[in-house]
């Protein structure tokens, strides 16, 4: 768009992806609404309060939770703070250049942030130490390791999983020191799973979990942060449009995919 992204999927490949979709087929044999294999590896960093490696096919991201002490925001004096950042590491793709954060990393951070925040997944009111003065800040940091498409959903699933594993460190109030090696309990979470699931539109077709090549061909996408049919956040991305019918269809696809993801994530976090 603004010349930042380099298109490397050749036109012939794009053409073939579209042709395959005419017959509801994809290169890797998946159905249009089927995710690649999801693997979650727990606690990949001892220093993090909670962390995971999420693999969706060849796509891989790391998500880590850190906690710190800060002043609350003026509009939420009795609630903990939440901060989500995403970084597209140059090591994860030949397309990513060094330099200040590009738009896609800002967008991933903001979409994951809104899914977690709007669903009130973290009980931030339980992370207040002294009203108006001192609260916990929860940092969710996302790093791409290998970008083979659908970083967005991997990041969102990773954030939910890492939070479920996170433990709050002890806080020594007298000396104002965080004792990172000692824990005072689990992250206070509501019993929901606000995964972000993205539906992509290629021609007349709606697909889930695109590979890098498919993502390049995608005309537009809609990312839905939801849990058990309740939608908490949503964002349409890229130029292109959806008809009202396509939006309705996307919601149905998301609801079905959420159920499958939920089972897989639960199974792997046990």
């Amino acid at each position: 768009m603004s010349g930042e992204e380099v298109e490397i999927t050749p036109d012939v490949t794009a053409e073939r992806i579209r042709k395959y979709l005419e017959q509801e087929k994809r290169f890797d044999g998946r159905k249009t609404d089927e995710f690649r294999e999801l693997i979650i590896e727990k606690n990949i960093s001892k220093k993090a309060e909670g962390s995971v490696r999420v693999k969706i096919g060849k796509t891989e991201v790391l998500v880590g939770i850190k906690m710190g002490i800060a002043e609350p925001y003026p509009d939420s004096p009795d609630k903990g703070n939440l901060m989500v950042t995403a970084e597209f590491l140059p090591l994860s793709s030949s397309r990513i250049e060094l330099g200040p954060p590009k738009f896609n990393s800002i967008e991933v951070g903001r979409i994951v942030d809104r899914g977690i925040r709007e669903s009130k997944f973290i009980e931030l009111e339980k992370l207040c130490i002294k009203k108006g003065k001192k609260v916990w800040t929860v940092f969710i940091d996302i790093y791409t390791i290998n970008d083979d498409g659908n970083i967005l959903d991997a990041a969102g699933i990773g954030a939910v999983a890492a939070l479920k594993l996170a433990k709050i460190p002890k806080y020594d109030e007298e000396n104002e020191k965080i004792l990172y090696d000692e824990h005072q309990g689990n992250m206070p979470l509501r019993k929901i799973n606000p995964f972000t699931i993205t539906v992509h539109k290629i021609g007349q077709h709606l697909i889930l979990d695109p590979t890098r090549e498919e993502e390049d061909v995608s005309e537009t996408r809609i990312t839905v942060g939801s849990s058990e049919g309740i939608i908490y956040s949503l964002q349409k991305g890229n130029s292109g449009y959806f008809s009202v019918e396509e939006i309705q269809k996307s919601f149905d696809i998301v609801e079905k995919a959420w159920k499958e993801l939920f089972k897989k994530v639960e199974g792997q976090l046990k």
Partner: protein
């Protein structure tokens, strides 16, 4: 609380927008410009271009580039905001490009860029929608070939009730389920080019919200169209 007796703080009907107005041709230097105002939210937009894209490596030989920048004036809100780009404004700039690009015939301008600068002078919720409405008019005013118009409105759910064009006071609503903010932009033919949501809603009710947005966008479209026509008449008279 039932939908029937839900009272909006400013007494509006559920499907009633704030008083809104549009004006085209407000910045003489620009190739196209417009203002859109809804209640106390005021957005202005100016279009410069198509002009040659610099640096050269950013040029796209297949089609022109749309470049939008959304900016809030530091004094447009109660707590002064730090001037300059933020993560929020960067995202809204991109969202605005995505909302408008589907109707622009940019293939007519290879290697060129069309700059759209949006400024929020006064903010009382719905600023991205006001910015998109102003920008769409400014693009038409600049004579950029367009397939359709884009109109934008924020629909919201306050507790259980769907209402249109939230004010800041409504955005901060805290009873029951609280507020759900759903900014939507549509072409006049009814395709959705921009869609966001923050809050809590079931998909069935969300479909109702889209229908409400569609009706409001039709009203906005008429005002945009009239403002564009009026600008031509004014130029002829001058």
């Amino acid at each position: 609380m039932t939908t029937k007796n839900f009272q909006r703080p400013d007494g509006r009907k559920l499907n009633e927008m704030r008083p809104f107005e549009a004006k085209v041709g407000i910045i003489p230097n620009a190739d196209g410009s417009a203002m859109y105002k809804s209640g106390d939210t005021i957005a202005i937009a100016a279009v410069y271009g198509p002009k040659k894209m610099h640096p050269q490596h950013s040029q796209n030989p297949e089609k022109g580039t749309l470049r939008c920048t959304y900016n809030m004036n530091s004094f447009s809100v109660s707590d002064r905001i730090r001037p300059g780009p933020s993560r929020r404004s960067t995202e809204i700039s991109k969202i605005t490009e995505w909302a408008l690009e589907p109707v622009l015939m940019l293939d007519k301008f290879p290697n060129m860029v069309v700059d759209v600068h949006i400024n929020i002078i006064q903010a009382d919720a719905g600023t991205r929608c006001a910015g998109i409405n102003a920008a769409a008019m400014a693009l038409a005013h600049a004579g950029i070939p367009m397939r359709d118009m884009v109109s934008s409105v924020s629909v919201g759910k306050l507790d259980k009730t769907i209402v249109v064009d939230l004010s800041k006071e409504e955005e901060d609503f805290e009873e029951g389920d609280g507020p759900t903010d759903i900014p939507i932009s549509m072409t006049h033919s009814g395709n959705i080019t921009h869609f966001q949501l923050d809050g809590k809603i079931e998909s069935k009710q969300l479909m109702e919200a889209i229908e409400m947005a569609k009706k409001s966008c039709e009203e906005i479209y008429e005002v945009q169209k009239k403002a564009l026509k009026d600008s031509i008449n004014m130029e002829e008279e001058a």
